[in-house]
């Protein structure tokens, strides 16, 4: 009863507040009015352009990929491992490429997820604010390094090291690509999961300590479970980074289109979807079957990243609901 009353009173006020910036009032001066109008139209234009370009990209890829999927059996596309686009009887089996993409991504996540979460916990709950304010920008700097520089490092430093120290027959392989990808996805994982961890309320931490829990217990039994949907979102965003990465996997994975056998052998070279597009697109004749096959792979990649994106949105909104913070 009381609540309804408050709502009744509060609603009009909130309504007015919400709309006030949009009301053009000549008493505010013509210049300000014009500025507001101009600013709004520019923002509107920019928004429209970005939305339009997203749709155009979608449209273009689907338009180029569909004829291929119609002519060529999708069943073979998804189940055949033979990628021989230039053979006399060309084969467009993308299974090995799909598996390759998943393979490096999952391996990269095995390295990056524990490291990322621990770093996030460490930054938000262990070190002082001063240390945090220095370390966090440094970690975020990792995201600013161009991927070709990472690739260069992989080929020139990591690959010879693997051959000489670990005795691998080839240095450009799944492990090399996965290590670099894990480093590249760390900034995303750390900063998003740190936001989630910081959003866990102070009262939860304090009650945990009040019950006599140690800091370790508080971190592992209270904070991480409370922030878990945010952390999952962070992992998914990190995966997106790894799935979509092109230059590094092209340079560091060896580009052999096969499913590793035995499956756990990381020293074998593999090939991903992105690397195939980057490597083949340069010299394929426009409009040929091979060209369309590459677009079909592009479409698949787009669908995968879209799904991952929606999933991360879902988890992030769950955190927001739970903690009332974040986003």
């Amino acid at each position: 009863m009381n609540e309804a009353k408050i709502n009744q009173v509060a609603l009009p006020a909130a309504d007015v507040l919400k709309h006030q910036p949009l009301v053009l009032n000549y008493s505010q001066g013509l210049g300000r009015c014009l500025g507001l109008y101009l600013g709004q139209s520019i923002l509107f234009l920019i928004t429209c352009t970005s939305v339009l370009s997203v749709f155009l990209i979608f449209f273009f890829i689907i338009k180029e990929a569909l004829p291929f999927l119609r002519e060529f059996s999708p069943a073979e596309f998804f189940t055949n491992t033979g990628w021989y686009p230039q053979a006399e009887k060309p084969q467009f089996g993308a299974l090995a490429l799909i598996v390759g993409s998943i393979y490096v991504t999952v391996t990269a996540m095995i390295f990056a997820v524990p490291a990322g979460i621990f770093a996030a916990v460490f930054l938000s709950d262990v070190v002082s604010f001063k240390v945090q304010s220095v370390v966090k920008p440094v970690i975020e700097l990792l995201a600013a390094i161009p991927s070709v520089a990472y690739g260069f490092f992989a080929v020139m430093v990591l690959a010879p090291w693997m051959q000489h120290r670990l005795g691998f027959t080839t240095g450009v392989n799944a492990l090399n690509a996965a290590i670099i990808l894990s480093v590249m996805s760390l900034p995303t994982i750390i900063s998003v999961s740190q936001d989630a961890i910081s959003a866990v309320g102070r009262e939860l931490r304090e009650s945990s300590y009040a019950l006599g829990a140690t800091r370790m217990e508080t971190i592992f039994k209270v904070i991480i479970p409370a922030a878990h949907s945010g952390i999952i979102a962070a992992i998914i965003l990190g995966m997106m980074r790894a799935v979509g990465e092109t230059m590094v996997v092209w340079m560091a994975s060896g580009n052999a289109s096969r499913i590793p056998h035995p499956w756990w052998d990381l020293s074998l070279s593999i090939r991903t979807m992105t690397a195939t597009i980057a490597g083949d697109m340069g010299e394929t004749a426009k409009g040929s079957e091979h060209y369309r096959a590459l677009f079909a792979i592009g479409l698949l990649l787009l669908v995968i990243t879209l799904c991952l994106n929606l999933l991360s949105e879902y988890f992030l909104s769950r955190t927001a609901k739970k903690t009332g913070a974040l986003k």
């Binding site: 051959q163 027959t169 080839t170 580009n255 074998l268 070279s269 010299e283």
Partner: protein, 275 residues
């Protein structure tokens, strides 16, 4: 800012008018990335002798070169393979008569790491390595070491030649690694003990070991006289035999001159001459 735009527009106008007036003195060359460096060097040498001509060299693959010649979009097509039957047919349909000028020879060298004791392979053995039948150097009289097989990307002309001579249209094994250029093959083989790869003869140096194929060492001599089994001619194609004395004619026969042969050798290919 405004000044900049005006300047830009004026330059654009200048360039476009320049092109139109020099149309008879311009040459459009398109095609193979392998032949590209030779054409570039020819152009450079030409520009020194005739400073007012304009030659454009576009490197976009043999297939694109052929297509451009057929569509009359270029004067000369560079090709690292001979024209295919379908290309000839569509050329004749459109009233274009392709004429081939063999300007140089290229050998494809099979290379391994310098520490590898294997010195000689037959075409059949190379074939077996690339289809995955031979997986260890032990089977070829080398050390007990798995073979790391490196190939060029399937869209390259070098790949096509290798495919023609060695693979005979049989598919390569799935474990074959693909790289996108000659220098990349070179550096993969240089740094990998068990690797085998193939490059154009110009990329053969002391850091990798070129193998004898069917008992014949790849060299300028064996490539030029055709005894080395993996050698191929490089072509320039024109629409009909170029008019004597024309710019196309001078360009297409430049390989016969001493300067032209020097350039071809400097670019790592083999001039068509007797050694």
């Amino acid at each position: 800012m405004k000044k900049l735009i005006v300047c830009g527009l004026m330059m654009l106008a200048l360039v476009s008018t320049g092109k139109v007036t020099a149309a008879d003195k311009a040459l459009q060359i398109e095609g193979s990335t392998t032949v590209g460096p030779i054409a570039d060097a020819f152009t450079e040498s030409f520009n020194k002798t005739y400073p007012d001509i304009k030659i454009t060299v576009t490197k976009n693959g043999s297939g694109n070169g052929a297509a451009a010649l057929i569509d009359k979009r270029c004067d000369i097509a560079m090709m690292s393979r001979f024209m295919k039957l379908e290309e000839f047919t569509s050329a004749v349909d459109k009233g274009v008569m392709p004429v081939a000028h063999t300007i140089a020879m290229d050998g494809i060298c099979v290379i391994v790491h310098p520490s590898n004791p294997v010195t000689e392979l037959s075409v059949q053995q190379i074939h077996d390595i690339y289809i995955g039948k031979i997986k260890n150097w032990k089977e070829l009289g080398g050390p007990n070491m798995p073979v790391v097989v490196v190939s060029r990307d399937t869209s390259s002309g070098t790949y096509e030649t290798f495919d023609h001579f060695v693979m005979k249209k049989v598919k390569m094994d799935e474990s074959v690694e693909y790289v996108s250029s000659n220098p990349q093959v070179h550096s993969r083989v240089k740094t990998t003990l068990g690797a085998i790869g193939y490059v154009g003869i110009g990329f053969l140096d002391a850091e990798v070991k070129g193998l004898k194929v069917n008992g014949i060492m790849p060299s300028k001599e064996t490539v030029a006289n055709g005894t080395y089994p993996l050698s191929r001619p490089l072509f320039l194609f024109t629409n009909g035999y170029p008019e004597l004395g024309s710019l196309s004619y001078t360009f297409c026969t430049f390989y016969l001159s001493e300067k032209g042969q020097e350039i071809i050798e400097a670019k790592g290919f083999v001039p068509v001459t007797h050694y």
